[in-house]
Symmetry: C2
Subunit: 556 residues, 2 copies
Amino acid sequence: MPSDTLLISPLGGVGEVGKNSTLYQYDNHLLLVDAGVKFPEEALHGVDLVIPDFGYVTERPDDLIAILITHGHEDHIGAIPHLLMQLERQEPVPIYGAPLALGFIGVKLKEHGLREAADLRPIGPGERLPLGPFEAEAISVNHSVPDSLAFAIRTPVGLIVHTGDFKFDPTPVDGATTDADTFRRLGDEGVLALLSDCVRIEQPGWTPSERIVSEALGEILAKAPGRVIVTTFASNIGRLREVMRAGYQLGRRAAVVGRSMDENLKVARELGFLDLPTDVMIDLRSAQSLPPNQVVLLATGSQGEPTSVLSRMGAGDYRPLKILPQDTVVFSATAVPGNEETVAQSIDNLFRRGARVIYRALNERVHVSGHASREELKHMIELTRPRYCIPLHGEYRMLVLYRELAAEAGVPPESVFVMEIGDVLAFGPEGAERAGAIPSGSVLVDGLTIGGVTRVVLRDRRRLAADGIIVVSVAVDRETGELLSAPDVVARGFASPHDGEILEEARDRVERALRRVGQGEPEYGFLMDKIKDTLRLFIYEQTRQRPMILPVVTEV
Amino acid sequence: MPSDTLLISPLGGVGEVGKNSTLYQYDNHLLLVDAGVKFPEEALHGVDLVIPDFGYVTERPDDLIAILITHGHEDHIGAIPHLLMQLERQEPVPIYGAPLALGFIGVKLKEHGLREAADLRPIGPGERLPLGPFEAEAISVNHSVPDSLAFAIRTPVGLIVHTGDFKFDPTPVDGATTDADTFRRLGDEGVLALLSDCVRIEQPGWTPSERIVSEALGEILAKAPGRVIVTTFASNIGRLREVMRAGYQLGRRAAVVGRSMDENLKVARELGFLDLPTDVMIDLRSAQSLPPNQVVLLATGSQGEPTSVLSRMGAGDYRPLKILPQDTVVFSATAVPGNEETVAQSIDNLFRRGARVIYRALNERVHVSGHASREELKHMIELTRPRYCIPLHGEYRMLVLYRELAAEAGVPPESVFVMEIGDVLAFGPEGAERAGAIPSGSVLVDGLTIGGVTRVVLRDRRRLAADGIIVVSVAVDRETGELLSAPDVVARGFASPHDGEILEEARDRVERALRRVGQGEPEYGFLMDKIKDTLRLFIYEQTRQRPMILPVVTEV
């Protein structure tokens, strides 16, 4: 790469929602903004998490100056433990972020036994960090988690504005607005490139203020005849606090149920984000002893996660807490794409148990997004007046729509770069141009395995999931190749109306086929193929299914 | 069951969307309305279709007087072949429906080789069918497929109105309106019970007319610089015809790409539902030779189905047709719950290929529902003034919301029955009351197997999908129990960074454990358990995964 050139490459968060991470490089100095995870779609069988391929960084561990964190959402911080595990350095890399984001990261690192190995450095809006050839300035933005930041990154070739996730909320509940003045000032200074959130570009207009959610939840709390159980994203500290505050004013105490919400609120409280009277929060046992109309519960389960408190209450298998008559349950969230069915099921089950459930289709004010809608995204362009734009955080169609939007704000389409993961953009004295790609992609995490879920493993899992497996084992004489016993046929996950019969017939066919092979040391591979060929066709004809056929030949 | 009692039981379509089927019984006379399928959620690994459990009917095959079909959607007709296959009768059961629905059923029966075995009897609005103790009157309703019917079912205990799927469209494109006069007349006559569609009860107000879709698509066809490719549900004949009509007026010829759309349009044309000039429709090859702005293509893929034309065009592997610059693709549909991600992916891919894609988030007029919204559902109650209501076709929450809606229309909550599948409602001289349940549920179809996918099979498939399988085979001496060879360990779908190493270590551990067992005819089951126990813990500790461990012990 030529020197005097700034390279920018998204390692995630373009062409998909989630696992946001952006790499900045100048000479051999690397700077990473965010390191998020994506939760796998169902086709990724058994995969726990999807993280970016950090190979380019982990091959140059000592070139990494710092990691900047915009905010504490999983899709921006979730991959930090995995990145640190892969980063072989003497000294831990400094991770800069606002206190709440670092608090959430700390919990995550602790779970992975990495707390001591990390160098977390809190920063706040207005601070400027010298980072080798870069200088990063933190800027306050409003989002659905408090303490969110954008970064102005000064580089030798020009000023970059990296928005992170944001919206312009004129009446935020946690006091922090998006600092339009600073963005305008940066625009005055001259912005080379704007890297912008674009995930809600399909939504026209402006995203409503979080204030309307506080009001809606306040009305529900005031009217509800019994307990109110509110679920939302466990990181939405501002909203959770507003629920507790409103409940308290109406004579309701709050108890928190569910690990992730409990942990997040603990971190938030320690860091001073819950400025509430000390007797607002009580434990679940105390809440159970109060009259129902003096209680509000904050529970996990806004995405219908099967192990969450609300899903288990819906299924009736959460011992500490049952749905009572006159319970009101509020889903103060929308289903993240992919979770629509589990959320619907959870709502249905809660209705079945007799709860009154209020969700977005019935009252659209119970949730608003933390992301900028179309006009806000345009406003950000107008404030910063960048020469180039790179939309981040969106699926491919959103990136294309952002290019059209930018044109409306005066940035010509050829100055807006729709990137795919790993694409490199080079900023030199002449301007920006595409400069190939670096190794990149998705790495699948399953249990302790980072990357062990390969294409082959996934293909096998899909096959196994669809039609199961038939294992055929035979013992043959090592010397003569003679069959020493009748084949053994065992099936798992294989469906057939006359299961036993078909498997018996299958065994007979394999036995006949192998006897026919005759004597004289037939090759191992030959036997395996013979078994496979014999069964594959027979099973398909009988069932129209294609289970995996796994022959096991033991030579004795 | 007492005589002089009418029993009604939903075999599907309550507490879920899809596989609609309702059983009416008077004495030993059975009448079935619809027999639909549901497409499986991903958790039902490998399952092709979900159909109702028709066991109660198939145990009394000769008691079934007829099957009435409301309309030709899969969730109302898809299970007919499976029902007929299970119904052992001398004479085929008469199936009554409007011509288009029967046309679609005919195609389906042909695929299953059942065309000759079925007794299809076309009926039209206003016709009255004597059916043993019942009399069914067909009533025109408007829905997203032409030729839709509701039924007034006269029984010895009173008049039942079964709406099927409907909306009140004042300006329908296929000429058929919902016959409010007849519903009002039935109300005057006195309706014992209204069985009503309720699937869009979460939507306030009235569903917009199909007319606005025709207008929106017409505008798009007029403005598009190149080809226009429209996808919608393959059964939405009215909309497809309007696209062709509008295109023709603008000088565009229409070609159909994709099997299901092609087949449905063929049936529709034969039955006279496509009153268009004969030169409107051309084949794909002719379309390819025309200038792009003289072409409109109707293609399958509105749900992002991986094998559909549009999905394959997006993926770039549909040979006959590629996306061209200036192509406009219109998704004239919404994603059915569960399909959100595949639809989004398909749209993204089409953008990647350079198409301009128009979908509902960008232009909400490109699709409207065929189902009644809240106020229309109330209007139906007001027209028919039933003594009792049974909401059908909805997930559980929708049934509960319908009870609230009915109260607004003057039907008290205790007269609205929220049913689960198989629940029986008995209508006698005293009124309606719950009367237990009949055998019912979901039957899973996989390949040729109806019902072979059991709970155990599914549990195994889930396990296999999540973490794969490790097969351990050993040969032992039948007499002495002595190990005759080193164990063989094979894994499929199992992920581990040091795959080979772990499996080798696993083999050693099994061997050591079995050698330790010592001589003297150890029991077969004991060996199996020993292998499982040895590996389960080891693998979990090493990988935090729980693959299925399948020991195969061959006695020689």
